[in-house]
């Protein structure tokens, strides 16, 4: 990284390909016995991903031993179906985290989008019945919220921490206005079917999530928004000096993220059966935690959509496993917190020296 972390000199070589062998002189004094691995940026990520996967596998093994129910096919379906919304939201958030920015607007955007989609498809309050078009419009609204976050952050040069917090409040406000005292109950069988109908054993929403993950991965891999997100997150100044219109691509990344939140809201609404202002409650924290556990680090430029999905599974398996293992509801929250911290520590351990300054 380009962080001015003099205490950890090895942190500097993440910006470019490292020399193929030999420890840096300063580092040699610190860890004389450890041979230097031939780090390359992709290699670092690979190690990180392995660590995250190991944490997930370990967790699955432990819960399988603790509870026979956990090992069943039915429970696998339950875990996947439960992970669907968090997965889609985390795909979106990953794009923002890759920039080195943060997005705290998730719950507000989801609230506004959940009410919007519930009011646009057949429902108990408005006479509308837009079906697919309503879903598309909702995803577009999510993207518009993302665009707003992006524009505020890049054009007004306000830290994303603050702009997205503002957009969170705006989203929740819009949701409250749309709610106006009466919850719209979804009456569209097609949208309700996302949650209640199965396709090849899994809920339709899970397939929608799989499709969204694929789209997210393609955007990350093959579009300039995705590629530049890594460059911007890795070294924004250098990217700017190379002639990349950084502000434009940052804004675009926020908009992409917003579109995924919109889709997440649609899925949550189909599961909940009505437009709920707090449909996204707790999702923002979970999505950030999932991304970091998976290896999409808050410093930016590292990780990616697929890595984040490992974190999503870790969190969902954890929630599911703790209930099945019979951990008392009074202790569950604390146990969950401890395991999340341990999982993050384990997942980031191999690359901790390249994380630069931790704030």
């Amino acid at each position: 990284m380009t962080s001015p972390d003099t205490a950890r000199p090895r942190a500097t070589d993440a910006a470019g390909p490292a020399p193929p062998q030999g420890p840096a002189p300063a580092a040699a004094g610190r860890t004389p016995s450890r041979p230097r691995l031939p780090w390359r940026p992709s290699g670092t990520d690979a190690v990180q991903t392995t660590a995250s996967l190991a944490a997930l596998v370990l967790m699955i093994l432990v819960f399988s031993v603790l509870d026979a129910q956990f090992r069943t096919w039915g429970n696998l379906v339950a875990v996947v179906d439960a992970a669907a919304v968090l997965a889609v939201v985390t795909v979106g958030l990953t794009f923002v985290l890759l920039l080195g920015a943060i997005d705290l607007s998730v719950e507000g955007v989801i609230g506004a989008c959940a009410l919007t989609v519930a009011l646009l498809v057949a429902n108990s309050r408005t006479g509308l019945d837009l079906g697919v078009l309503g879903v598309v419009a909702t995803v577009a609204l999510g993207a518009a919220f993302g665009l707003l976050s992006g524009l505020l952050s890049t054009r007004l040069r306000i830290p994303s921490f603050l702009t997205t917090l503002g957009v969170y409040a705006i989203g929740l406000g819009v949701a409250t206005i749309l709610f106006s005292g009466e919850r719209p109950i979804v009456g569209d069988p097609w949208l309700s079917g996302w949650a209640s109908s199965k396709f090849l054993g899994f809920a339709v929403a899970s397939w929608v999530a799989a499709g969204a993950i694929l789209v997210g991965w393609l955007i990350q891999r093959y579009t300039r928004v995705g590629r530049y997100a890594y460059a911007i997150g890795g070294a924004e100044d250098i990217t700017r000096l190379s002639g990349v219109p950084v502000a434009r691509f940052k804004t675009a990344a926020f908009a992409v993220a917003g579109a995924f939140y919109g889709l997440g809201a649609v899925m949550a609404t189909s599961q909940l059966g009505s437009g709920v202002v707090t449909a996204g409650s707790g999702l923002n924290f979970s999505a950030i935690a999932a991304a970091v556990i998976g290896g999409t680090l808050l410093v930016g430029g590292r990780g990616g959509v697929l890595q984040s999905m490992i974190g999503v599974l870790v969190l969902t398996v954890l929630q599911n496993g703790l209930i099945l293992a019979g951990v008392s509801p009074y202790a569950q929250q604390a146990v969950q917190g401890v395991i999340v911290v341990v999982a993050v520590a384990a997942a980031t351990w191999p690359v901790r020296h390249r994380l630069g300054v931790v704030k």
Binding site: Q69, T72, G74, N75, A78, D81, A82, A175, T176, F179, G181, E182, R183, I185, A195, S196, A203, A268, Q271, L272, G273, S274, V276, V277, T278, A279, S281, G282, Q319, N320, I323, L324, P329, Y330, Q332
Partner: protein, 363 residues
């Protein structure tokens, strides 16, 4: 950017000091008049204020609309205050609402955020001389008859009774035997604890019913959906009923049951939100309990209004009526239609009927 001169500073200090003195005097005046005569307000001078957490849940929305309806019936308007479950903000709103002069004719119908938030609200209202009715939350050792002549009453509901009523309805619908799962609310709230105690009382009366599992879903619909999904994997077809500490969780559980294709599982909740009542009418949900939100929103204002206009003398109200459990209603398929459109019956909030719903003192 000029430097403040010594003279300017002196003037500034003087103004500030004078201001402080004035405020102090005004405070004194307010306190002395507050303890004075009550019931001297003409109806049009009364200010009605309703304060709840937010307007995004149907229950509190119904509360405010009940208040509006009462206000309209006496030719006034209710001022809405919502604090988003933020205790700090609630106190700030109360302070601002009571900041003006002539607060002797103000009436506050307040839902304190938590037990500990009630004391400062009571103190502020008494200081300003405003009439106050609190609902749901108050510390056990703080009572209106301990020298608070403007705190008309505290109304709450026996959560143990609510939990018991719905549990009985659920067990009956299951034919008196089978397994149930329980979805608790936020564990450290008295609402969650009392309601769960009610379930346990019902369980002790029905040895044929087995409590398969209890989990918390934080009164939240999305969380209840996920928790129920997992519990259904764990207990499968043994689940004959779901007991939820509120309707939102019950509705979340119903979505999980539907997604899992489980039919014939009874679901009960508390609060009587419109969606739950619709589900009961449709036969997909078993029962819920209503505290009658519109009545709650109106009765607090009515009590204060009657006291302010002299139709009710707070000093004459018995202690048992100044902190009481109000009547609650079990809603099942037989009477769901009546509750489908929660409406305020103005007779219930008439000055002569203010305490008819009291079922007993708190404690």
């Amino acid at each position: 950017m000029r430097k403040p001169t010594r003279q300017r500073l002196a003037v500034l200090t003087g103004v500030l000091a004078g201001g402080l003195l004035l405020t102090a005097c005004a405070d004194d005046g307010g306190t002395s008049s507050a303890s004075g005569d009550g019931g001297a307000c003409s109806p049009e001078d009364v200010t009605l204020i309703g304060q709840v957490r937010n307007q995004t849940n149907p229950y509190e929305a119904a509360w405010l609309s009940g208040g509006d309806e009462f206000a309209e019936s006496v030719g006034l308007e209710q001022q809405h205050l919502t604090y988003d479950g933020d205790s700090q903000r609630q106190q700030e709103q109360i302070r601002q609402a009571l900041a003006g002069s002539g607060m002797e004719c103000a009436v506050l119908n307040v839902l304190p955020n938590g037990d500990s938030d009630t004391a400062p609200i009571v103190a502020a209202a008494n200081e300003a001389g405003a009439y106050l009715v609190t609902q749901w939350n108050k510390p056990a050792d703080l009572n209106p008859w301990d020298g608070y002549d403007r705190w008309v009453s505290h109304i709450t509901y026996d959560g143990e009774e609510s939990g018991y009523l719905i549990a009985k309805a659920l067990f009956e619908s299951m034919g008196g035997s089978g397994g149930v799962i329980a979805l608790q609310g936020i564990l450290d709230t008295s609402a969650a604890q009392d309601r769960f105690a009610g379930l346990q009382r019902a369980l002790s009366e029905h040895p044929e019913i087995e409590l398969l599992d209890e989990q918390t879903a934080g009164f939240d619909r999305a969380e209840a959906l996920n928790v129920t999904r997992t519990l259904l994997t764990a207990h499968g077809e043994h689940v004959g009923g779901v007991w939820a500490a509120n309707d939102d969780m019950a509705l979340g559980a119903m979505q999980a049951l539907e997604a899992a294709g489980a039919t014939g599982v009874g679901v009960v909740g508390i609060d009587a939100v419109p969606e739950a009542i619709a589900a009961i009418e449709a036969g997909t949900m078993t029962a819920t309990v209503s505290s009658d939100g519109p009545w709650q929103g109106a009765i607090g204002l009515a009590m204060g209004y009657c006291a302010a206009t002299g139709e009710l003398d707070v000093a004459d109200v018995a202690n048992d009526d100044r902190a009481f459990f109000a009547e609650q209603f079990l809603i099942d398929q037989t009477n769901a239609a009546e509750f489908a459109e929660p409406e305020l019956n103005l007779d219930d909030v008439d000055c002569a009927n203010l305490f008819t719903r009291a079922t007993g003192p708190i404690g």
